[in-house]
């Protein structure tokens, strides 16, 4: 049979000679090997304090986006819910009334917007379907909760901070979560353009 790699070694089944039967030389050799690890670099990432950088296309929990003036972008068109293969998204639309122009960007908005994180498969199709750039998949992951109800995220869980009330939080959310779609598209299209 042809070997797949050249790393294969024939097993030596000949009986041990006296030197090998003493065990001590190989024990000392082994202890030398383990001792050399004292000086080796520790590759551990101390998780809560340090985190690994995410890939640009990482798909974590969703956020609902705001524009620079702090108005919600979502218009409750329902395209994300239609696109969702797991049927995790439900919403109820409502009409914006006089005086709410600072809250909602367009005349229609989502009065209720829920994502069931237990149903969600984090495929990102909602993000692709959204015509208003309102929903994004962030880099937050691994939600923990004590009951199933806690995994149904409402609008207050999903919306990013208001830039008027919490500019720092908005900057952080917008920088970390609202990624430049152009980059992602470029990364994907490169192999395609070559062929």
């Amino acid at each position: 049979m042809q070997a797949l790699t050249n790393r294969a070694k024939q097993v030596d089944r000949s009986p041990m000679n006296f030197w090998e039967r003493m065990y001590l030389p190989s024990i000392i050799k082994g202890m030398g090997i383990t001792f050399s690890h004292v000086f080796k670099k520790n590759p551990t990432i101390h998780y809560p304090e340090q985190t690994r950088p995410f890939s640009k296309v990482f798909r974590g929990l969703h956020v609902l986006n705001r524009d620079e003036e702090g108005r919600e972008r979502c218009t409750a068109c329902g395209l994300c819910a239609v696109a969702c293969p797991a049927e995790a998204i439900t919403m109820e639309g409502a009409e914006r009334v006089e005086g709410e122009e600072t809250l909602y960007r367009e005349e229609k908005y989502a009065a209720k917007y829920e994502i069931n994180m237990l149903r969600c498969i984090f495929c990102g199709l909602c993000e692709e379907a959204c015509p208003k750039d309102a929903i994004y998949l962030s880099e937050t992951f691994a939600p923990a909760n004590f009951n199933r109800k806690g995994f149904i995220y409402g609008k207050d869980d999903l919306l990013i901070p208001d830039p008027n009330k919490d500019p720092e939080g908005y900057q952080k959310a917008a920088a970390g979560r609202v990624r430049e779609k152009v980059d992602v598209v470029e990364t994907y299209s490169k192999p395609g353009s070559n062929s």
Binding site: Y23, I27, G30, M31, I33, T34, F35, H37, V38, K40, K41, N42, P43, T44, H46
Partner: protein, 356 residues
């Protein structure tokens, strides 16, 4: 009669010994406690990972957290288990582990006013035999615990443990006989004093030490001889059915045994409380300070041995049972016998000259 006894009791001595016992036992327990931390830290370092580092600075509170966890767990006695023996097992293991520390000379004398305290609980003239008797008793802890659990894996592990300890005790005893030829005494104190004048016994008995350390690994049920606790063969070994602090006692007894056997190795072969390259008798420093420095030297030697125990554990895989028995009966015992005969001949030759 009662009055007579009351007069004859030397209360100062009783109090002195009680204080010593409390100190020695708490030191043994403390070292054993931090051995569990050190074991995991050593494992981490040798495997390129940090080891416990969450509880306290460098994870130093980890043993406390483990103790709290073990104490607060549910204490289960299996319904088919023999209840008395089930409780007796860990108690015996712990007792035997702690009792050995009584005959070890932890240091020289210290003088407070005109009262002299010897840093040894009991200077038995047969100290070595006492150690052997108590260590042999430790097997009962394993055996009784394994049998009382009413579990075939525990029983198998207990039988393995018992036969392994008995097999290796022979070679250990034979290697010690050669040592006793050299020192001429069974008292641990005399052995240490002899080494202070004549040099450490490791120079005279290198092969004996090698046999002794291998047997010590086997007696402590440490890797590569941890067959009674072989997880992948016997689930968890003889303490499978144990939970809560009873399990804790078994694990703790193992670490105390490890520490005590390290101290005994340091005492027998590496000069005990003798400070290397330093003449205690000729120095001008106060003898009390020298006694404490000597205690420090003994502890340093013992901790180095404990670290070697751990280093070996994270290097060498477990022996198979037949290999274990072959090594014990066919290699170590003949070697120890040869070592004993050669030592005896040399000692006789030096004493009486050829032809004896």
């Amino acid at each position: 009669m009662i009055d007579l006894l009351a007069i004859m009791v030397d209360w100062a001595l009783v109090i002195e010994k009680l204080i010593l016992i409390v100190i020695v036992v708490s030191i043994s327990l403390g070292v054993a406690m931090y051995s569990t931390w050190a074991e995991r830290k050593v494992a981490g370092i040798l495997q390129d990972r940090p080891g416990p580092n969450r509880a306290g600075w460098f994870g130093l509170l980890q043993p406390v957290a483990d103790a709290v966890k073990l104490f607060s767990k549910e204490d289960i006695i299996p319904s088919k288990a023999n209840k008395i023996l089930f409780v007796l097992g860990p108690a015996l293991a712990m007792l035997a582990a702690v009792m050995t520390s009584a005959v070890i000379p932890w240091g020289d004398k210290i003088t407070i006013g005109d009262y002299t305290v010897s840093l040894q609980i009991a200077d038995l003239n047969i100290g070595m035999l006492y150690v052997f008797a108590v260590v042999a008793m430790g097997v009962y802890g394993v055996m009784i615990g394994g049998w009382a659990s009413n579990n075939k894996f525990s029983l198998l592990a207990a039988i393995r443990g018992a036969s392994q300890n008995i097999s290796y005790e022979l070679a250990m005893g034979l290697s010690l006989i050669a040592l006793i030829f050299v020192t001429g005494s069974l008292s641990l104190k005399d052995i240490v004093v002899g080494q202070q004048t004549n040099g450490w016994n490791i120079i005279y008995q290198p092969l004996g030490f090698l046999i002794f350390i291998v047997c010590a690994f086997a007696e402590c049920n440490r890797t590569p001889f941890d067959l009674p606790e072989a997880e992948n063969e016997l689930n968890f070994g003889y303490h499978q059915e144990y939970s809560s602090m009873k399990l804790g006692f078994y694990l703790f007894a193992e670490y105390i045994n490890m520490f005590i056997s390290s101290v005994i190795m340091a005492t027998l072969y590496f000069g005990g409380y003798d400070i290397p390259f330093f003449n205690e008798a000729a120095s001008t420093i106060s003898p009390n300070i020298i006694a404490f420095l000597g205690f420090g030297a003994l502890m340093t030697k013992a901790i180095i041995f404990v670290l070697i125990f751990m280093w070996v554990r994270w290097t060498i895989p477990r022996f198979r049972y037949d290999q274990l028995m072959n090594l014990g009966w066919k290699s170590l015992i003949p070697l120890a016998l040869v070592n004993m005969l050669i030592t005896a001949a040399v000692v006789l030759f030096l004493k009486l000259g050829w032809p004896f």
